[in-house]
């Protein structure tokens, strides 16, 4: 991980390229995170690739309910020479959950973006084949969103029934 100073230097480099790109930085438990605007994600990742972060280790969706903007996409980058990790986060509203796809430049993002689309309904613009990957094709809804019902079978637990107040009622 870059230290807190290194993180600010990287953020400043990104600001110099595009003044609106970086929304903030976060250094927490020795882990460096850059928050960027959704539209700036591909350019940011390309810039960081030039700085040595050549490996996109993971891409995943998050639901920050009830915070707004609710949905988030995290990009975990890895510099394999220095064994150095950097996290890029972006946030979008549920009304227009559009993020530019990084699949053309990072092929590994293909299935991971499809998973984030499948589970959270985040639309990755420019993805070559954006359709559901885990759930059935005709499934409706975005199951990993936090306002989505858990589903399954209702279960009545009775093992501790007698310990509940007013069990005799």
């Amino acid at each position: 991980m870059p230290d807190a100073t290194g993180l600010e230097l990287i953020a400043q480099e990104l600001r110099d390229r595009d003044a609106d790109a970086v929304l903030g930085t976060l250094f927490y438990r020795e882990q460096a995170t850059i928050l960027v605007h959704p539209n700036a994600v591909p350019a940011t990742l390309e810039h960081l690739r030039g700085k040595g972060y050549t490996f996109l280790a993971s891409l995943h969706g998050v639901d920050y309910f009830p915070e707004e903007p609710r949905l988030g996409v995290h990009y975990e980058l890895l510099d394999m020479k220095r064994v150095d990790r950097l996290r890029v986060k972006t946030r979008v509203h549920t009304d227009v959950p559009h993020v530019p796809s990084v699949t053309p430049k990072w092929p590994t993002a293909n299935h991971q973006e499809r998973e984030a689309f499948d589970m959270f309904g985040i639309v990755f613009d420019g993805h070559p084949d954006l359709r559901r990957i885990l759930m059935p094709e005709d499934y409706e809804g975005w199951p990993q969103r936090r306002d989505f019902p858990v589903g399954g079978e209702a279960i009545l637990y009775t093992h501790n029934e007698l310990n509940q107040p007013g069990w005799w009622k």
Binding site: L134, M135, P136, Y139, P143, F148, P149, V150, G151, G152, E153, I155
Partner: protein, 227 residues
Amino acid sequence: MEIVRQKLSDSTDFRARQLRARDMLKGDLDDADLQKHVEESLLTTTLEKASKWAQGNAFMPATFGLACCAIEMMAMVNARVDIARFGFEAFRASPRQADVLIISGRISIKMAPVVRRIYDQMLEPKWAIAMGACASSQGVFNNYAIVPADKFMPVDMYVPGCPPRPESLAHGILKLRQAVVARPDLGWRARYGGEGTEEVLAQVAAEDPGAAAAINVLREGTDGASA
């Protein structure tokens, strides 16, 4: 079950019966002796009981693993539990040759049609065992993605556990054998009201008035669509 220990008949008696069996095979036994031999060595039963006894003692499970329960299903075949002692070790790689489907693991709603298709491809008589919490009642995956087995196919036996130990599954199979041998009338058709849905060949339907009422009559040259 009470175990009754009997002393084996003494060796001279055994030898005498051996010699008599040999004589019978040669055709040397005459009427009275032949009658005695047959009375001593035959057991009468009904054909249905005998066939159910044979079916219950020689299940051929389908080679079909779904999740972590499948590991325990494999362990059941290994030397420690060794289901071959009871004659259930012949896992068949084709549903056409299998008569027990062990649903070993959680079934996602995307997998359910596949499992149902495999069950439908199995020839009757057939049975299904829901192994583990997920296949029986969704277990820890009680959410949007998983469906319990008895929602889309008939299940004969439920084995609890997460996953069940191999001994549990062996016990479940032995219970299924008990059910098949003791109550052959309790097939899934009887329990689910599925009588009349048997697939019957057209020739059989023409000759047998009972089978003629069947809904699914297979005619030559068709793909099995109902008549």
